[in-house]
Symmetry: C2
Subunit: 216 residues, 2 copies
């Protein structure tokens, strides 16, 4: 299906945004769009859009443009959204709960199948029909259910040990909300970091920069 291996991460990172915009256009009742019009709506160049898409195949038609519905579906396939993978949540604090309750993972390729915490007060609870298991049941659960990824919403101090354990248990990826950085430790495991602090600091920089007098 895919044309060749190793598409650059810059391209990959743009795919979800294309997917989102195409979804919005679809909801607007539109059916076709040219790379030029899409580029204007997204703040990119038409060239870039065409280059990006041509990493994966030929989805357009000369003189016509792209069929919105079809292109969206193709990008969905490229991202692998159709094949729903199994996720477990480690840490049912505020952030973990927010994700479990509020966030529809199935539209993003995942289904939550288990929740774990070690805090006694949380253990009885049920979140989205899933009981919160004690951490000491993690091994057994993973062996039985073979989750693909783990969502880490635990304190930084616990991240390392838990990650080690999960890698041992064959986890394939982490959605990492902790402040711990294990990009390098497990070369065969995919890590997607959501470093909220980094994001907020970037905003801080840009705000500070903006309000500074511009020196020539």
């Amino acid at each position: 299906m895919s044309k060749s291996r190793s598409v650059s991460t810059s391209v990959i990172k743009r795919l979800p945004r294309y997917y989102r915009f195409l979804g919005d256009l679809k909801l607007n009742g539109m059916h076709r769009i040219s790379s030029k019009e899409l580029s204007e709506r997204m703040g990119l160049t038409a060239s870039q859009i065409r280059q990006d898409l041509n990493c994966f195949g030929e989805f357009g038609q000369q003189g016509y443009g792209y069929n919105i519905d079809l292109l969206r579906e193709e990008i969905g396939k490229i991202l692998g959204l159709c094949d729903i993978k199994k996720a477990i949540l480690i840490g049912a604090g505020y952030m973990g709960k927010a994700l479990a309750m509020h966030f529809d993972m199935t539209t993003n390729g995942f289904r939550l199948i288990g929740i774990f915490d070690k805090k006694q007060s949380i253990l009885g609870q049920t979140i989205q029909n899933l009981p919160v298991h004690n951490m000491d049941r993690l091994d057994e659960f993973c062996r039985e259910n073979k989750p693909d990824i783990a969502i880490l919403c635990i304190p930084k101090t616990e991240a390392h040990a838990v990650a080690d354990q999960l890698v041992q248990l064959g986890i394939k990826g982490f959605w990492n909300f902790t402040h711990y950085d294990f990009s390098l430790e497990y070369p065969d495991v995919v890590v997607e970091n959501v470093h909220l602090s980094d994001s907020l600091m970037t905003l801080c920089y840009n705000i500070s920069e903006k309000s500074e007098p511009v020196e020539e």
Copy 2:
């Protein structure tokens, strides 16, 4: 203080990570580090680190390397973390609450000064000593307290109208957790997006890619 205007966003995005690693090294009781050793720990090249830092000044010493504590502080200054700016939270659902309760903004340059929602059931509550105000008090509050940024944790459908209102009220930046994309609409307002869906889709792609048979 800063050497020249318009440092590339690639560099800016790496600053918080440097800041984090230097903080960890400091906690480890270390005092100096060379660009080479830091590069190995962070998975970068020494050249890149030196290039990045030299966008802002000369923080090292030949033959010695960098003073960890000092470099960390300098990066903090560059990011503008010392000057605490005012933030308001719009939307006190699961995600909004998680941020307000759990996330220490002051270490990232911001202080939460107001929380807003329109859901009747939430309005009585107090989160981190801040009462949840009704949305119809937003105008008054902003005129009185002049917040710098707004954290948007509201449904996509409401994002556009609220953003418009806040821009009118002089907000300087958004920390955007909604699925709405207003990168282009307000050229003078700084937007930092936390598109969790995009992040999860990227993870989905990388997991799918990894498990596919590698074709040559």
